[in-house]
Symmetry: C2
Subunit: 574 residues, 2 copies
């Protein structure tokens, strides 16, 4: 501390001075010209006339506190932590609140330990370029409707949430259990409250008494708001509204309408699920800022939502501002409209510049996250679905992750449904214990013809999700996915393609350029097979087993009506 | 937690429902009609149709989160904690961040322990009506210029700040030590930072590099702002601005000019030093709100400054809002202009109504805080002050606590100065160890004639401060103060009056009505002896030894020039 004070008083040289920046002050919402003086990773002043070991010329760029992503599942990028960090940092992110929900559902706590270690070993000049606050996944499995690779019960959660490994308790998706005062759900929440750790929420369409009950449990955030009214009710009840800029789901534009000069402090920006392509080409929180400002929200409110508000929400005391005693986590951006990130500093170290992260790290991959896809052998006949008369069909819609229920008249032939025009089959195959569990249903609105494709990423238990109109092709997709240790695969009469996600069947150990290119290639193939516009061929599949989002979902155990919170049959009896 | 959720869902009866209130929501800044449902001391919902054990009809009053006083020295009320709580609560306060700086300067940590215990034993229906977060005094003594009753060095502070007894580290008044990177000052601050405890500040007239240095130490608040520019600089540097509504010092009106829709979240309201008369008749934070709104600040910003902002600043997670999971700490006020408090609830228990606290508590007084005034015998000759020619005179000004330096031509007669028109003598007598230390100087702008008065409250070491134009009367005042175990005393040719402050020489064990009446009586006597308008006869004296506020101060060791941070002589050599 002495050296900080001496540097502030100009009695000692600073380590770094950033000159020529327009410095945004998140406390006042104003911008001023001044040198940012940094010592031992801390900001010690904004002023003039500092001497320093190094000077960095910002050339008139805006200096913002580097961004805090309030909620992200890193696994959804399909990138290793090392590659994720490279992209995240070059888009101005300094801290992520990461919920390793996916990998923990596959590998248990060993998955979280892997994430922690993989992020921690990335280093540049003694600094960790991206700081990660891990949330303990609260719903493993996310629902009783599916088979996950691990189970974290109330007791284990009590124990884990106290560990230093975890910053807080991850999004409590099983809201019916909270509202129903389920013993085990409350055991988890109480443990987090007792450890004084923040609890993230997930409260789609909750309102009235149910939202009161959910908030009464001490849950503090929600990223599932769908419109201004929804936001305002959640705000009123004390939840921070996380504006989500995911690849599949985004709600910034609708929800920004709720934001005003008084309540802007209760909005925070997050990615939730974001793929590598979007991370590279559009960015992360920088992209969210751009979108938010485009809705007409003043830049100072938006920036606060990406920095100070999030730091306050999560109790990150020295983050989110460029001011003395704050960590020297700084993003230089071109303007306050497009927010193109020119350089990022972490604790006073330049960690990215231009389009490039200035660090690289060998992959760290623990044994527990390797070779995780284990299925019982399947063949074409296993994909038969004997339905006739009225059938319950899951309908997907463009640009969203909600599904609808559609009732169609179908016929059966040789013990298998004759697929109506525009309808495919959807299958979810258990892949952790090779149990042979398989759920099947009909899927409309997706549009695939003459083949099948599948993926081993499938929220939240990450069983294999396979869609197709050809039983043989579906079986072959399952086989390809198993061989690759997870990934994406596509099969039709003419070709087979697959791309391995060798870390837990969720993430690739390849460089991000390769992940993006291979994902694009395989996606282009899928698109060529008729997948509808507005439907991401693979990424829309990954939400189809997620039995916490209305209306219909399919798991390895069968079809679920989320509103009723029970299994339903595809066959409607008349 | 189960019972909270069940109550929220109306599956169980609530303990309390407050009906007919206009409920202010501090997150949205809006007011809505609705029933406030309370269970086990927590708010579980704002809605309709709750069943409850008790109903309370608010009759159209506004329901606000009860107020948080961000910084107060309870001792300045001269009331026992029990009597203070009764007044504080009836003015809508729910939590105080109390810095027992005064009593710790007299009695050491035993003083803080006494405060904690005295507040804790007050109870109504199993609830503590006023919650107290004690800050560990950081400056005992406040400066090296005076003799205090205790010394808390760096090492002891390291040890104490970790204790549960203390919520954080109290205002760091010795700002020169911080800026100078004094070893012991930094030892204290580092200990608080390591314990993750908040550090309050005190930064009068600090700006530029010095303020950068002060903020770099991790100090997070300041209540010494004097104008909008001062506020804005402190805000920018990450300090919360505490708007002060003390009895002697208040800065709301000037500083409110800095407040706007963007930065209002960084302002918080506090009392600092407030006497019993003001507490009873004008209130505490309710009065601050009234004053703040009168400046034109919108009520929602003002209320946030009294509630949510303060809770955020101090990390009081479930305080400062009326929303599910928040403590049911509620003040009902008549309107959002005068903020007259009609009733106060603490954790769902009605603790005051109308003009009356609904609890009373026996005095708790520990041995350590009794009989604390010990002086060496003094007589009239001890008050002689041999000055001639140019003399340095301390000048007090109406309505403020700053002093100025005035140079006057004086004559000496029989080894004692001949007091010019309008000039008195000021003496400060050490009273902890009967050492005989006595500081003396001339005082202008005060106005007392034909006698003397004195008090044992004197920031921050609480030695005896005596003012007069008559050596014999001054000696008699010292004698009266010693006999009473501290208090206030006044002497002239015609009468003698004294009022005992039997708790540490700072606070009275009498009921607040008596404290107010006796203080008024003795003050009226002082006023009758010529004390100038705008000068509080006793309460202005108590700041005169406080060698951290410019310009001149007098301690038991002599006259101090605060700007130069050194002792100076009353006699100016020519």
């Amino acid at each position: 501390m002495k050296t900080l004070i001496n540097a502030a008083m100009k009695r000692e040289k600073c380590d770094l001075v950033i000159k020529g920046a327009k410095v945004f002050n998140v406390f006042t919402g104003e911008t001023e010209e001044g040198e940012i003086a940094v010592k031992k990773g801390k900001i010690v002043g904004i002023g003039k006339g500092y001497e320093a070991e190094r000077a960095y010329n910002a050339n008139g760029a805006y200096a913002l506190p580097s961004f805090i992503d309030a909620h992200i599942h890193v696994e959804s990028s399909m990138l290793s932590p090392e590659e994720f960090a490279a992209l995240s940092v070059r888009h101005g992110t300094g801290v992520i609140i990461a919920d390793p929900h996916e990998i923990v559902n596959v590998c248990g706590i060993a998955g979280a330990e892997y994430m922690k270690e993989a992020f921690s070993h990335i280093e540049i000049e003694g600094v960790n370029p991206l700081e990660v606050c891990l949330q303990l996944p609260s719903c493993v499995p996310a629902s009783p409707f599916e088979t996950s690779g691990a189970v974290l019960d109330g007791r284990e959660t009590e124990w884990e949430v106290e560990r230093d490994l975890f910053y807080g308790l991850g999004e409590f998706m099983n809201y019916p259990a909270v509202i129903g005062a389920d013993r085990e759900a409350l055991q988890k929440i109480e443990a987090a409250v007792e450890s004084n750790k923040i609890i993230d929420g997930h409260a789609p369409a909750l309102s009235g008494d149910a939202l009161n009950a959910y908030a009464s449990a001490g849950i503090k955030t929600d990223h599932e708001c769908v419109n201004a009214q929804d936001c305002l009710e959640k705000l009123k009840k004390g939840l921070y509204v996380q504006l989500r800029n995911g690849s599949s789901a985004h709600n910034i534009e609708e929800n920004a309408k709720a934001m005003n000069a008084y309540n802007y402090r209760r909005f925070i920006l997050c990615s939730d699920d974001r793929n590598a392509y979007d991370l590279k080409n559009h960015g992360e929180i920088d992209d969210a800022l751009r979108r938010l400002v485009k809705t007409g929200v003043p830049a100072p409110w938006a920036i606060a939502s990406a920095t100070l508000n999030t730091a306050e929400c999560y109790g990150l005391r020295n983050k989110g501002a460029i001011a003395p005693s704050y960590d020297a986590d700084i993003a230089l951006v071109e303007d306050l409209k497009e927010f193109r990130v020119l350089a990022t500093f972490k604790r006073g170290v330049l960690v990215s510049e231009g389009e490039k992260a200035l660090f690289s790290a060998e992959r760290y991959i623990s044994e527990e996250v390797k070779s995780t896809v284990k299925i019982k052998e399947v063949n074409a006949d296993d994909f038969k679905l004997d339905l006739s008369g009225k059938a319950r069909v899951m309908r997907v819609k463009p640009n969203g992750i909600m599904t609808e229920e559609e009732i169609l008249e179908v016929e059966s032939k040789s013990g298998d449904v004759v697929l109506p025009q525009g309808v495919c089959k959807l299958a979810v195959i258990e892949r952790h214990f090779a149990s042979g569990n398989m759920g099947k249903c009909l899927l409309s609105g997706y549009g695939l013809k003459d083949g099948a494709l599948g993926i081993s990423v499938a929220h939240d238990s990450h069983n294999l999700v396979i869609v197709g109109d050809d039983n043989k092709a579906m079986a072959r997709v399952a086989e390809l996915l198993e061989r690759a240790g997870g990934g994406m695969a596509i099969v039709n009469g003419k070709f087979e393609k697959s791309f391995a996600l060798d870390i837990a069947g969720l993430m690739s150990s390849a460089p991000y350029e390769e992940v993006i290119r291979k994902t694009e290639e395989i996606t282009a193939h899928a698109r060529g097979m008729g997948v509808e516009e507005g439907i991401e061929p693979f990424m829309s599949l990954v939400f189809l087993p997620l039995a916490v989002i209305p209306k219909l979902r399919l798991t390895d155990k069968g079809l679920v009506d989320v509103d009723k919170f029970e299994f339903v049959s595809s066959q409607i009896k008349e």
